[in-house]
Symmetry: C2
Subunit: 153 residues, 2 copies
């Protein structure tokens, strides 16, 4: 069973122009063509496209994904390259998650900050406040916001 670019684009919920762009950039060396030059995507191409989507979500550039697809096309000689790529990307994603969790803590603090300001009717409630009256889980964050990690010796 084959699909045209428009059909598979609908299934993946992305614009056909994006798939054509990926093809032009060498991300889709596996797509076949009809005698007239029309792209023919097969069912097994789904998996490759899903992996591309995964690598994009992991933050990889088009260029690096192309390299990976080239490795795939080269066969078993590149297995260890591909393995270390996935290990690297896994670490990358873990550190992105950690980063977002730090960001989340600051957002939580700011939510609390504006909830209390809203109750008080003014942000002035947070001026000259006894640090002890800030909820414990926000004390570190508040301190870091006020004195960001210094860069010098």
């Amino acid at each position: 069973m084959f699909y045209t670019v428009g059909e598979i684009a609908k299934k993946l919920n992305i614009p056909p122009s994006t798939l054509r762009y990926y093809d032009k950039e060498g991300l889709l060396p596996f797509v076949e063509r009809s005698s007239g030059g029309i792209r023919m995507f097969s069912d097994k191409d789904f998996e490759s496209l899903s992996v591309i989507e995964c690598l994009k979500k992991a933050g990889m550039s088009i260029k690096d994904i192309r390299l990976f697809m080239e490795w795939c096309a080269q066969g078993d000689a590149t297995i260890s390259d591909r393995l270390s790529l996935f290990r690297r990307q896994r670490e990358q994603v873990l550190s992105q998650i950690r980063q977002l969790e730090e960001t989340l803590e600051i957002l939580d603090y700011k939510e609390w900050y504006y909830e209390t300001a809203l109750q008080a009717g003014t942000c002035a409630i947070h001026e000259n406040t006894d640090p002890q009256k800030i909820p414990k889980r926000f004390q570190n964050i508040q301190r870091r916001l006020h004195h960001p990690p210094s860069q010098d010796p």
Copy 2:
């Protein structure tokens, strides 16, 4: 105590050109100027810059951050706007984290896939494999990779 753009840039570990760009885009309405027109950053500007950094990490655009800074400059009348902004951004970051965790599962599966292929010396080991022999935690992922969620009725 005041800092020039170069000094504060070094402390924040970002290029001075970026700070000038942010200023031009209206993100830094709070910076004062010397009589000669030189930007003078104060210690209390650290907090604003840290919040900008946080919002950037949360995925907000320059444009939306400018809007927030304008609200800050407008005072207590905009507290509830700012509160709902932080609530929205918090949800946003949570869903980014969930997204990355899904991505992580796929990367884990691929790591296992290539580890076993490396041991076997070939990716062919994964062809026509009994689904029961795939570790349980990967069975759903493998199925989803092969048959992505359909878009049609």
